[in-house]
């Protein structure tokens, strides 16, 4: 229990809470106390001693970060005694620190440099040799200059307390103490880049941006991260001081947002900006006689308009489909579908990896989390169903980790073991083919433990299922809760061909536990694109369309082999479930448009028109995250060359087609307002009512060999794939197909030969890793390997054999 406490700092009377430290109270009151080791999100180490202050009646100066306030305490932060102590500490810190700020990457934004200006003495007294510390190679993301380290241990505490991966530690003792990994294998945490921010000096700096610019020449723009459904807040630093021409993003840093990313950022969000300078498309081009030709925008738009009109006239608008990446903004999505729907096109989708979309008719406003990120921490039971948030949604995972640390039981069930940075109370695998059966069995186990009128009616359908002790344990743990459990459905589950049945049973599970399902969605804006009308069954505002107006989803439209495809920022060879079907469709169709910031050699084959668009930070727009939060940002810089923001491209295409001279929207802000308005009015008219999925009786079949499609987090979208440092960090590991020993033995596979995977008509050869975290009867297939483009639905039955 904290009680109100009255203290005085520098003669200012302050009311605060018992249990707070002097530095916290001073910070709140705007009184600055110098510090290095203190970090509000990390434990107190009190080792730098820079924050020593005078406390009345204390014989010695006390560290403000570690001294709790008490009633009547009188603190002086700048008295003679306090300043003397602070200056003495500063002189100790500087004796072994290189005093060469001009050649240090941290120069200009270094806590030590700043505080040395305020507390340092102008002349050094230290005449001995300075300490030199060998640098350690920490991998492609973090640079070291360990001679600059001041031993504050923030990076060590970050690893232990936040990343949950104690990769850095203090070696040796006294003046010989240094920070390192000991093992020398680099940093592997998905949050490793945060050590750059917590390091107050130039010991740990960002490798990709090191020595590329000075912080005071950067212009800072508030932006949003584009890779996962959290929508982390970032600052985009753009070089702009000296030349107007060379506007480039120099680096990306976290922007504090307590409800989302707190003060952290995943490596993927931090370093993917590098992509903005690689593999860029900069000019509209059309294919003529098999040759690509650069053309002015109006020519490209003419070609598109003419060709699509022709197809509509001869074959109808249903012969056209539009696929848009799940990270596109609300504005891009809205104008994309607005243009296509104005042509009568119904086949519009942002779901690139779903094999069975019929369950989607069910989810009111679209898939999302049932609670906010901070609320995740309040659960005492969190069930992860085929959800692997650690690498795919690192900041979401951070909240689950916090819940686990305050005692929540995290329960994981999926096609592989959870590789978590916290304790998993239940960590079991199941053959991916058996999900529906297992989900139903869990419902049965719950029904046996809990009397429930509504769901009792399902008993007959559950008759043939057998509750194993493992499932019994899971059911018991789930029922033993204080607050309704959180059930998180991973995006891999949506890739399952039985998704509808699995989710129908998951809904029963949620009902029995008096909770709602939470969904992690792919990309940065699946939620926003649902609201913008980028699914075939919903108009803007997520208004359900009448049956006759519902078009085909991505996979269906590829299977249907239509006459024209408009592909926005997706590489069908790497990004979609059923890349074989996609490529077949694109190769037989009459006309394809590829709109993207990034070059794609596959697109060069199948596309007829390529339009370069702005990437990520180059565009203003709105993202809706998985908690339903709308976030709008302005572009941080212009797109290179002729590339244009995609929203403008689609607005122009609509105008072009209807030969209007005015764009319907020429202000980006108006677009999001229109979508938000559509959502509000649909809400007001209760249009989002959910239909209930009806689970079907389960046929028990023995598990068969299935593949499970796997998109590595550092290969997952076009942006991250074009970012060189992250690709180095991803390493070789991403290329392997994986299965456990049992599967390997059954099919005579080993790590020395390759594994040939046959899926439908397609086959591909992969290197194999025996990985005991993979479920029985299951082979994980790396979808981001170019060879996998020839495979169809990889989450599904496959055949494997060893090959040379």
């Amino acid at each position: 229990m904290s009680a109100a406490v009255n203290i005085k700092i520098d003669n200012q009377s302050i009311q605060c809470q018992s249990g707070q430290s002097i530095i916290e109270v001073a910070d709140q009151a705007g009184i600055y106390i110098p510090r290095f080791c203190y970090h509000p999100k990390l434990s107190i180490a009190a080792n730098c001693r820079m924050c020593l202050v005078e406390v009345q009646q204390a014989p010695k100066p006390l560290p403000a970060c570690a001294t709790p306030v008490s009633e009547g305490m009188v603190v002086y932060t700048r008295s003679r005694k306090a300043l003397q102590a602070q200056q003495d500490i500063m002189s100790f810190l500087l004796i072994n620190h290189p005093l060469d700020c001009p050649i240090c990457d941290q120069g200009g934004e270094c806590d030590l440099q700043d505080l040395a200006m305020a507390y340092g003495r102008s002349r050094g007294e230290f005449e001995e040799h300075k300490r030199a510390v060998e640098d350690e190679h920490l991998g492609p993301l973090v640079s070291t200059e360990m001679t600059r380290c001041i031993h504050c241990t923030r990076c060590v505490r970050f690893g232990e307390e936040i990343a949950g991966m104690p990769e850095l530690g203090v070696m040796s003792r006294g003046g010989r103490a240094y920070i390192g990994t000991y093992l020398g294998k680099g940093l592997h945490s998905e949050l490793s880049g945060n050590v750059i921010d917590v390091c107050p000096v130039g010991a740990l700096t960002a490798k990709p941006s090191r020595f590329k610019g000075r912080s005071w020449t950067f212009k800072q723009h508030a932006q949003l991260a584009r890779h996962d459904c959290v929508g982390s807040h970032v600052y985009c630093h753009v070089q702009s001081h000296y030349t107007d021409a060379a506007h480039t993003v120099m680096r990306v840093l976290p922007r504090a947002q307590e409800d989302l990313n707190e003060v952290w950022l995943s490596d993927r969000d931090r370093f993917s900006y590098e992509a903005l300078q690689h593999q860029r498309l900069t000019q509209p081009q059309i294919k003529e006689g098999g040759q690509w030709k650069v053309v002015p925008w109006n020519v490209a738009l003419d070609v598109i308009t003419d060709r699509l009109s022709g197809i509509i006239q001869t074959a109808g608008a249903d012969q056209i489909a539009g696929c848009i990446a799940p990270s596109a903004t609300v504005e891009e999505g809205f104008l994309f579908q607005d243009w296509l729907r104005s042509l009568g096109v119904r086949n519009i989708d942002c779901r690139m990896r779903e094999a069975d979309v019929s369950h989607d008719l069910n989810v009111g406003l679209g898939p999302r989390l049932a609670c906010t990120l901070p609320e995740i921490e309040t659960h005492d039971r969190i069930l992860l169903l085929e959800a692997f948030p650690r690498r795919h949604q690192p900041m979401l995972n951070h909240r689950i980790r916090k819940a686990a640390q305050s005692g929540a039981a995290v329960l994981s069930w999926g096609s592989r073991l959870q590789d978590a940075n916290y304790t998993i109370a239940f960590n079991e695998t199941l053959p991916i083919s058996t999900w529906a059966e297992h989900m139903a069995t869990l419902v049965k186990a719950l029904l046996q433990l809990k009397d429930d009128q509504v769901y009792q009616t399902l008993s007959a359908a559950l008759e043939p299922l057998e509750v194993t002790p493992t499932i019994q344990t899971l059911a018991t743990t789930l029922l033993d809760h204080q607050t309704p459990p959180m059930i998180l459905i991973g995006e891999t589950m949506l890739q399952h061909p039985d998704a509808t049945q699995i989710i129908a049973w998951a809904e029963c599970l949620a009902g029995l536990l008096s909770t709602q399902l939470s969904w992690v969605t792919s990309g940065a804006n699946t939620a926003g694109l649902w609201l913008s009308g980028c699914v075939p069954h919903r108009a803007p505002g997520a208004v359900p369309l009448p049956k006759e107006d519902i078009g085909l989803g991505t996979l269906e439209s590829f299977k249907a082999q239509l006459k024209a495809y408009i592909i926005h920022d997706v590489m069908p060879d790497l990004d979609v479930m059923g890349s074989r079907q996609a490529l077949e469709a694109l190769n037989q169709s009459a006309f394809n448009v590829y709109v993207s910031p990034f070059e794609s050699s596959a697109a060069r084959d199948w596309a007829d028109v390529i339009l370069p668009c702005a990437a990520g930070y180059e565009t203003s727009g709105t993202l809706v995250n998985a908690t339903g939060t709308w976030q709008t940002v302005a572009s941080a810089l212009a797109a290179p060359g002729e590339a244009k923001p995609a929203w403008k491209i689609y607005a122009a295409l609509a105008a072009w087609h209807h030969t209007e001279t005015q764009l319907k929207f020429d202000e980006v802000t108006a677009v999001a307002q229109a979508v938000e308005h559509a959502v509000q009015s649909a809400k007001a008219q209760n249009k989002h009512d959910q239909a209930v999925l009806v689970p079907e009786a389960i046929q028990v079949t023995p598990p068969t060999l299935w593949g499970v499609a796997y998109w590595h987090d550092l290969r997952e979208d076009t942006l991250v794939r074009a970012a060189p440092a992250l690709q180095l960090q991803a390493g070789e590991d991403v290329a392997y197909a994986r299965c456990n020993t049992l599967t390997a033995t059954t099919f005579a596979l080993n790590e020395t030969t390759y594994v040939q995977v046959k899926q439908g008509e397609g086959q591909a050869r992969f290197k194999l890793k025996i990985d005991e975290s993979i479920a029985n009867h299951t082979v994980q297939i790396p979808m981001t390997e170019p060879v996998s483009a020839s495979l169809g639905l990889c989450t599904g039955p496959i055949e494997v054999e060893a090959c040379a």
């Binding site: 001693r49 003495d88 810190l93 001041i150 006294g174």
Partner: protein, 427 residues
């Protein structure tokens, strides 16, 4: 001849097999413990006895033991711990090893009594890594005591459960600092913790914990057996009881002597065989190198008690007494000590990590006669910059020898300045 020489912890100095249970029992061992188990006296009364006996911590800081024990909340939820600090790392100190080798049962009995008094569940006896024989003796004594039902679950058939473990450290000086020891027991680096919170509130595994020195705990059974008055009567009014001193340096008969507090330094020096022929006592470190040094002349008129040492600006400390005669190169002596401290600093906090190296470099320079003008003032200033700003008392352990050496022996140190230019006096 000193009366009551070796009567408390070192009483078995020359008793054969004193470390075995039969011999200890023969000498009345465990009688107090058995009585306590049988009669279950009010712990408060026992604390009173310890308070009245005048027993103070023998690990270095000299904190009154009864008072320390009274800080523990018997009723705090969860397990509570006792740690016996047998790290004995303070240079010049080698008295705890004598207890551990000759009298392990008395230590175990002391730990049991302390645990009973404070309501503790588990006691760890943390021995320094180099203590192979003492560890062996403690282990076999513990096994004997356990077999005899004196330690463990339902002691002597009662409802009392007290576990004791001997732990061998991995070797470092800083692990002797009580909170560093707690960290080490938790399996972490021996980094001292910032206090508050104090171990009595937040100690081992975050639970209430008391840390006492080996000699402190081993004294307890004798105090309860013979009475508080007996014990306090052995010493002076302000310094009750006896204290073990490990005497080394320029003496003819170095060794461990347990003497009543208040004994004159002269008598202690005589016990240690006195100085070598024709030598005079230049300087004495009375209680381990972390204490301030005292000029020999002052020591010779002093008594070995808390107040006696305070009067000459130093302290009893751990009882590691080092005598240096007039042949001693003061700069060299200081440099050797500072080399030790820079080597042993845990490196956690800035003033100690950076200051210890700097001080060591300066003293080494002086010892080689390569000092620069101003070095002594600088040395003094650096020592003062460390003192009182660190996480643990290691900062003082660096500072006190430096400042006291400069105070008393500035001219001798100035010899080390190359140009022999004297600097301004700052002391």
């Amino acid at each position: 001849m000193i009366e009551h020489l070796n009567t408390v912890c070192y009483r078995f100095k020359s008793v054969e097999n004193s470390w075995t249970l039969p011999v200890y029992l023969e000498h009345g061992g465990y009688a107090v413990w058995k009585e306590i188990v049988k009669t279950a006296p009010d712990p408060k009364d026992l604390i009173e006895v310890i308070k009245r006996s005048g027993l103070r911590g023998r690990g270095g800081a000299g904190f009154p033991t009864g008072l320390k024990w009274s800080f523990m909340d018997r009723n705090a939820p969860g397990p509570k711990y006792l740690i016996c600090n047998s790290d004995e790392g303070e240079p010049g100190t080698f008295k705890d090893r004598q207890i551990l080798t000759t009298n392990p049962h008395q230590l175990i009995e002391g730990m049991l009594i302390a645990s009973y008094v404070m309501g503790l569940d588990v006691g760890y006896n943390f021995l320094r890594g180099e203590f192979a024989l003492p560890f062996q003796r403690c282990e076999s004594a513990l096994a004997e005591a356990r077999a005899a039902g004196l330690v463990g679950a339902s002691i002597l058939g009662s409802k009392l459960n007290i576990e004791i473990h001997n732990i061998l450290g991995a070797g470092s000086y800083i692990v002797g600092e009580e909170t560093a020891m707690i960290e080490a027991l938790e399996g972490k680096r021996a980094y001292p913790r910032y206090k508050p919170p104090f171990p009595a509130v937040h100690g081992l595994y975050g639970q209430p914990t008391t840390v006492n020195n080996t000699e402190t705990l081993a004294s307890v059974p004798m105090i309860l057996a013979q009475g508080a008055d007996w014990f306090s009567g052995l010493g002076t009014e302000k310094s009750g009881g006896t204290k073990m001193f490990s005497v080394s340096g320029h003496v003819n008969n170095p060794g461990v002597f347990e003497i009543p507090l208040g004994t004159s330094f002269e008598s202690l020096l005589a016990l240690a065989g006195g100085l070598q022929e024709g030598r005079s006592c230049l300087v004495v470190i009375p209680g381990g190198t972390s204490m301030r040094v005292v000029p020999g002349a002052e020591m010779l008129t002093s008594e070995m008690s808390y107040e006696g040492m305070e009067a000459v600006g130093s302290a009893i400390g751990s009882g590691g007494l080092i005598v240096m005669d007039d042949r001693t190169d003061i700069a060299q002596a200081l440099a050797v000590m500072m080399e030790f401290y820079q080597h042993e600093s845990c490196g956690q906090c800035t003033p100690c990590r950076e200051g210890s190296g700097w001080v060591s470099a300066l003293t080494a320079r002086l010892a080689q006669g390569l000092g620069k003008p101003g070095d002594i003032d600088r040395l003094y200033a650096i020592a003062k910059q460390i003192e009182g700003r660190t996480i643990c008392a290691f900062g003082e352990a660096i500072s006190w020898p430096v400042t006291s050496f400069i105070q008393h022996f500035r001219p001798q140190l100035e010899v080390g300045i190359a140009s022999n230019e004297s600097s301004e006096n700052c002391t």
